[in-house]
Amino acid sequence: MYKAIIAILFALLLTGTARATGKGLTALPDKPIAPAFELKDAEGNLHRLADYKGQVIIVNFWATWCPPCRAEMPSMQRAWEQLREEGIMMLAIDVGEDEDAIFEFTASYPVEFPLLLDTESSVSEAWKVKGLPTTFIVDQWGRKVYRAVGGREWDAPDLMKKVRALKEVP
């Protein structure tokens, strides 16, 4: 018994080590309207938030130098491979960097969803992003309904279920 208690105490001391994933999605009860934007992706194509009206959208704010942002990218790609077939959109908005940083990044982290450039960080500020990564789930009426501060395992069943459930809302 004594050994068990020491083991528990030791485990408590070790809690909270530097993990690069968080948990869950926080519902935003007031469902604020997602601020409009027009941003180019790394290939120069223009994306407007309005282009995706009527779709559920995962909007991720990130940067290439941010370790938890990089850590969640593979799970975002896995989630995208399932969700794009279901009409759910995913956009990753890079904060403050240029095309060169994105090209270098995609050589090591090949992802297929659009990577948009918010070089002036004005969109990030309008969306009230404070730290990276931060992700919002926008419903088909253009409202921010969930937020996640820090990285997530985006293909985890509980997260995917919440995102998919938004499509079912009449």
């Binding site: 809690t15 926080t26 940067a63 941010c66 403050g96 730290g131 990276l132």
Partner: protein, 184 residues
């Protein structure tokens, strides 16, 4: 037996600070834990920060001035059950009887305003720092640098404040030390 159990509960209800030394890097890490909330502070050598800044187009002289301001890699997590709010401007640094504040994002914006630094470089520094004010629901976290405005190698105590489930929590992380200019 009951004494051991009471120790366990004291541990659960109270904060703790642990210290580690990186086997490969020799850098020190301090971690504060309280009811599922953790703040992990990892020393950053001035050279690491110089390289980071120069890689983002900061002129060498400016990068040097910034890099010797005592940077820590910081990981703030809420793995507890209550929402958490913090405001770094309310935190204090004490060192040999002197009291000062952290150098937060707004400090650097102001300080760098008059210097010839590309906008992209300013934006990069801003976003790489821990947010000055933040709200974490359970499961949320941020990584970012925190800056203490002290010379390399200086020892100090950090007085931290936050609100957990709306209730104030204050504590001290004692004996932190800015990374030295070079590791021996």
């Amino acid at each position: 037996m009951s004494f051991l159990l009471s120790l366990l509960f004291l541990k659960v209800g109270m904060a703790s600070v642990t210290v580690e030394v990186g086997e490969k890097t020799g850098l020190r890490t301090w971690q504060w834990n309280h009811d599922g909330v953790s703040l992990r502070l990892v020393q950053r050598l001035p050279d690491q920060t110089r390289a980071y800044l120069q890689g983002r187009s900061f002129p060498a002289a400016v990068a040097d001035g910034i890099a010797t301001s005592c940077f820590f890699g910081s990981m703030f997590r809420n793995d507890g059950k209550l929402p958490l709010d913090f405001d770094l401007t309310a935190w204090k640094v004490t060192q040999k009887g002197n009291e000062s504040r952290l150098f937060v994002r707004e400090y650097w914006k102001d300080k760098l305003k008059s210097l010839e630094i590309p906008k992209a470089a300013r934006i990069a520094l801003n976003w790489s720092l821990m947010p000055t004010r933040q709200h974490f629901e359970p499961g949320d976290y941020n990584w970012g640098m925190t800056v203490y405005g002290l010379p390399p190698g200086t020892k100090f105590d950090l007085h931290l404040k936050l609100r957990l489930g709306g209730k104030p929590v204050e504590d001290i992380m004692p004996g932190l030390q800015c990374a030295p200019e070079k590791l021996n």
